[in-house]
C-alpha cells in the first residue's frame, strides 16, 4: 500500500504540474509590481508563532488593502517536502519564513523561487550574505536567522566527574574530559549527536567541527568537495575515536539525551536554551579544534532558516514590502527577544546591546554569529549531503571502512554531483 501511495503522491504532483502550465515573463513582470493581499507561512514552534502573529498584526493594522493571511507551515515529514509539493502544485504562499538553505537549489531548479534585491540583503547581512548567493549570482533567499551551534555542557555531570573547570578547546582535551565522564559513570555518554542516517545530521556533528578546523570552509567550494582534506579527515578521525571508545553512542535515541542526563554534552544552537530552562544547569563553549583555536577565531555551522519568495505569488510588490518590514531592525529585535535566535544582520551584538546585557546567556551566540558557515548553495545539495552522510555513517559511526578512504570515495562522487545541473 505504501508503494502505491508513494507512486500516487508522485504522480498527482506531476499531473498537477502538467495541468497548471501557463504564464510567463510578462506575468512575472506584472506580478513584481502588483500590490494586494498575500499569504505567508511561518514555522510552527511556539516562540516563532508568537513573533509571526505580532508581525502580521502590526502590518495589517497599517495596510488594510494589502492584508497578510498567515499560517503555520503545514505538517509533513519535513517542511522542505511540504514546500516542494506546494511549488509543484502552484499553491505555495508568497513568503515562507522557514526556507532551508539546503533546499534552495532544488526549489530554484523547480522554478519555484523569485530572485530578490541583492542590495537590501547585502546591506542587512553584510559579508555573511555571500554564502547565500546562488551560482547564477542572484539571491533566491533572504538570510534571515541563524542558530550558531556550540558545545553545551552539563555542569552537574562535569562536577560529578571531578571536572570543575571544563577544558574542551582541543580534541585531546575534549577526549580526556569525555573519558573522565564516562569512566566515572557521571553520564553514560560524553555526547550524543544523532547517529542516524538522515542527510542533515552531519550539520550537528561533522560540519561544525569542520567549519572550525578549516577556518570557515564550506563542504563544497569552487565546484569541488573539500571534506576529504587533511582537516576533514582530522575531524572525522576525532569523531571516530568518540564512537570507537564508546564516548558517543551508535544508537538512535528517542528523547533528548542532554536533558535526560544520558549525555554530558550536546551540539546545539541557542534555540535550545528555552528547552533547558529549569532542567539543566548548562555552560557553553565553542566547538573544539585540533590545535585549540581561541574562541574569537572559531567558526561553526549556522543552522540558518531563511525567507524566500515563491513564484506562485501574484502580489510580489506587497510581498517584497512585507519581507523588508519583517526583517527590519525593529522586527528583528522583536524576533530575537521572542525566540533567542540570531537575526542574520550585521553586528547583532552591538545593534541589540541592551538585549544581550539583560540576557548574557545569548551573548556568546551573538559573537559566534559573525563566524558561521552555511551549507553550500550548489545543485544537488541534498544528494551531496546524503552521499557524505552515507560515507560518514559507514566509516566514522560504525567503523566498517577506513575513514580516509571513505571520505575520498565520497568526495569523488560529490565532485560529479556538483557538475550536474
Amino acid at each position: 500500500m505504501k508503494l502505491q501511495a508513494g507512486l500516487l503522491a508522485v504522480v498527482l504532483a506531476g499531473s498537477l504540474a502538467a495541468c497548471g502550465s501557463g504564464g510567463g515573463a510578462g506575468d512575472a513582470d506584472a506580478a513584481a509590481k502588483a500590490h494586494g493581499p498575500i499569504t505567508i507561512w511561518y514555522s510552527n514552534n511556539a516562540e516563532e508563532v508568537a513573533w509571526g502573529k505580532q508581525m502580521v498584526a502590526a502590518w495589517n493594522a497599517e495596510h488594510a488593502d494589502q492584508k497578510i493571511t498567515a499560517q503555520e507551515i503545514p505538517t509533513g515529514k519535513s517542511s522542505e517536502e511540504v514546500i516542494g509539493a506546494a511549488i509543484t502544485a502552484g499553491n505555495a504562499p508568497c513568503l515562507i519564513f522557514n526556507t532551508s538553505p539546503a533546499s534552495v537549489s532544488q526549489f530554484q531548479k523547480q522554478g519555484g523561487l523569485v530572485p530578490l534585491d541583492a542590495s537590501y540583503i547585502e546591506e542587512r547581512s553584510g559579508d555573511v550574505a555571500q554564502q547565500y548567493k546562488s551560482p547564477d549570482g542572484k539571491y533566491y533567499q533572504l538570510p534571515w536567522k541563524s542558530n550558531p551551534v556550540m558545545i553545551f555542557y552539563n555542569k552537574k555531570i562535569f562536577a560529578k566527574a571531578g571536572i570543575t573547570d571544563p577544558k574542551l578547546q582541543t580534541y585531546d582535551e575534549f577526549l580526556a574530559a569525555s573519558r573522565k565522564i564516562v569512566a566515572s559513570k557521571a553520564a553514560k555518554f560524553a555526547i550524543y549527536p544523532a547517529p542516524s542516517n538522515e542527510f542533515f545530521q552531519s550539520w550537528f556533528d561533522f560540519y561544525p567541527l569542520f567549519a572550525a578546523e578549516t577556518g570557515g570552509k564550506q563542504l563544497v567550494a569552487d565546484g569541488k568537495a573539500t571534506f576529504a582534506s587533511d582537516e576533514g579527515k582530522k575531524v572525522a578521525q576525532f569523531w571516530r575515536t568518540m564512537y570507537a571508545d564508546k564516548l558517543a553512542s551508535q544508537e538512535k535515541y528517542t528523547g533528548d539525551a542532554f536533558v535526560d542526563g544520558t549525555a554530558a554534552m550536546a551540539v546545539v544552537g541557542p534555540w535550545a536554551i528555552a528547552t533547558y530552562k529549569g532542567k539543566v544547569d548548562w555552560g557553553v563553549v565553542p566547538v573544539p579544534t585540533s590545535s585549540g583555536k581561541p574562541a574569537s577565531e572559531v567558526h561553526t555551522f549556522s543552522d540558518a532558516k531563511n525567507v524566500a519568495m515563491y513564484s506562485a505569488c501574484k502580489n510580489r510588490g506587497t510581498a517584497w514590502d512585507v519581507l523588508k518590514f519583517a526583517t527590519s531592525k525593529d522586527q528583528d529585535g522583536k524576533f530575537l527577544a521572542a525566540t533567542g535566535q540570531m537575526p542574520l544582520r550585521k553586528d547583532v551584538a552591538s545593534v541589540y546591546a541592551d538585549y544581550f546585557a539583560k540576557n548574557p546567556d545569548y551573548k556568546l551566540f551573538a559573537d559566534q554569529a559573525s563566524r558561521t558557515v552555511e551549507v553550500p548553495n550548489v545543485p544537488n545539495s541534498i544528494t551531496i549531503w546524503q552521499t557524505f552522510r552515507d560515507a560518514y555513517s559507514k566509516s566514522v559511526i560504525f567503523g566498517q571502512e577506513d575513514v580516509g578512504s571513505a571520505l575520498d570515495g565520497a568526495a569523488q562522487k560529490v565532485d560529479q554531483l556538483v557538475k550536474q545541473s
Binding site: 500500500m1 505504501k2 508503494l3 502505491q4 508513494g6 507512486l7 500516487l8 503522491a9 508522485v10 504522480v11 498527482l12 504532483a13 506531476g14 499531473s15 498537477l16 504540474a17 495541468c19 497548471g20 502550465s21 501557463g22 504564464g23 510567463g24 506575468d27 519535513s78 522542505e80 517536502e81 516542494g84 511549488i87 509543484t88 502544485a89 502552484g90 505555495a92 532544488q106 531548479k109 523547480q110 522554478g111 519555484g112 544523532a194 547517529p195 542516524s196 542516517n197 538522515e198 542527510f199 551508535q250 544508537e251 538512535k252 528517542t254 513564484s311 506562485a312 544537488n380 541534498i382 544528494t383 546524503q386 552515507d390 555513517s393 559507514k394 559511526i397 560504525f398 566498517q400
Partner: protein
C-alpha cells in the same frame, strides 16, 4: 444485434457489472494511471516544476534504470527486503495460523486475546515503535535478560541483526490482521472433518496438520501474498527504528531509498525507476508463491 453487443459488454449479469464499474474506475484512476505515469517518468529526465516553469524532460531510455542498478545502496536495499521477506512471511503464516487456531478453541478470555493481538496492527507505528526501542536498544529489556549473551553491537545497530529485528517487529505488529483472516477461514472448516479424524484416532496435532492446514489453504495463499506485498513496501519501520536505514544501509528498504531519491533529493525519475523494479520484483515473487501454494491447493 445492438442489444447483443451491449449484452456482451455488460456480461450475463449487467447489474453486477454496474456495481463493479465504480471500483474499476477507482482502480484505473488511483492505481493504473499512476503506475503508467511512474513508468513514463522512469524513462525521462523528470523532475517536478512549478506551473508555468519552462523545463525540459527529455527521453533518456534506460538511463535511470542504469543509475538505479549501479547504485550499491539500491542493490543492498533489494537484498535487505529479501532477507525481510524470508523471515517475515513464513513467520507470519506459522504464528498467525497457530494463534488463530488457539483463539478459535473454546478458551477463557478469548475475546481479550483476540483484541490484544489486533491492537498493535491498528496502532500507528510511530506510537508502538517506542515500545520496541525500549525492548531492543542496548540497555533494553531483551539485552538485560540475555546478559552476557546480548549481541554487540546491539540489535538495531548491528549490520547482521538490524533487518531480522525489523522483520520480527513487523511480524508482531501485523499479526492481528492475519490472525483475523485465519479466524474467518477456520469458521469454514467443517466440524465433520474433525469428528471423522477423531474417529480415525487422530490426535490434536494430526487433526491440525491433516484437517486445519488443508482446510485453510486458500487463506494461506492470501496471507502469503498480502504479507509479501506489504513487506516489499516496507518503509515506516526502518525509518523509525533505525533512523533512516542504518547501520550503514543494513536496514534500508527499496521504498525508503525511493523516498530519499524521489522526494528528498528531487529525483522522482530515479525514484520511479526503483518503484517499477519493485513492482516487477513483487509480481514475479507473487507468481512464484501463487504457483507454489496454488499447486498444493489443486
Amino acid at each position: 444485434m445492438r442489444r447483443g453487443l451491449i449484452g456482451r459488454i455488460l456480461g450475463a449479469h449487467p447489474v453486477g457489472t454496474a456495481f463493479v464499474t465504480p471500483y474499476v474506475i477507482f482502480l484505473a484512476a488511483v492505481f493504473a494511471y499512476p503506475l503508467g505515469f511512474a513508468v513514463y517518468m522512469s524513462f525521462h529526465d523528470y523532475f517536478f516544476a512549478a506551473p508555468g516553469a519552462v523545463v525540459e524532460r527529455p527521453f533518456v531510455g534506460f538511463a535511470n534504470y542504469v543509475t538505479v542498478l549501479s547504485d550499491p545502496a539500491v542493490r543492498r536495499a533489494f537484498g535487505n527486503v529479501l532477507i525481510f521477506l524470508v523471515i517475515n512471511v513464513p513467520l507470519t503464516v506459522v504464528l498467525s495460523l497457530g494463534l488463530a487456531n488457539a483463539l478459535n478453541a473454546a478458551i477463557r478470555w478469548r475475546t481479550f486475546f483476540r483484541v490484544s493481538y489486533y491492537v498493535p496492527y491498528v496502532t500507528a507505528s510511530v506510537a508502538v515503535v517506542g515500545v520496541w526501542l525500549f525492548l531492543f536498544n542496548s540497555n533494553g529489556l531483551v539485552n538485560s535478560v540475555l546478559g552476557p549473551l546480548a549481541p554487540d553491537p546491539s540489535w538495531l545497530v548491528n549490520s547482521g541483526l538490524a533487518m531480522p529485528t525489523v522483520a520480527i517487529y513487523v511480524t508482531w505488529k501485523q499479526l492481528g490482521f492475519f490472525i483475523l483472516l485465519y479466524l474467518a477461514a477456520l469458521q469454514n472448516v467443517s466440524k465433520d472433518l474433525y469428528e471423522a479424524a477423531s474417529m480415525d484416532g487422530a490426535g490434536r496435532w494430526q487433526s491440525f496438520l491433516n484437517v486445519t492446514v488443508p482446510g485453510v489453504r486458500p487463506a494461506t495463499t492470501l496471507v502469503v501474498l498480502v504479507a509479501t506485498v506489504t513487506g516489499a513496501n516496507l518503509f515506516t519501520e526502518p525509518y523509525l527504528l533505525t533512523g533512516g536505514g542504518g547501520p550503514d544501509g543494513a536496514s534500508a528498504s527499496p521504498v525508503l531509498i525511493m523516498y530519499q531519491r524521489g522526494i528528498e533529493q528531487g529525483h522522482p525519475d530515479v525514484g520511479a525507476a526503483i518503484g517499477v523494479l519493485l513492482v516487477i520484483g513483487v509480481l514475479l515473487l507473487a507468481l512464484v508463491e501463487r504457483r507454489f501454494v496454488g499447486r498444493e491447493e489443486s
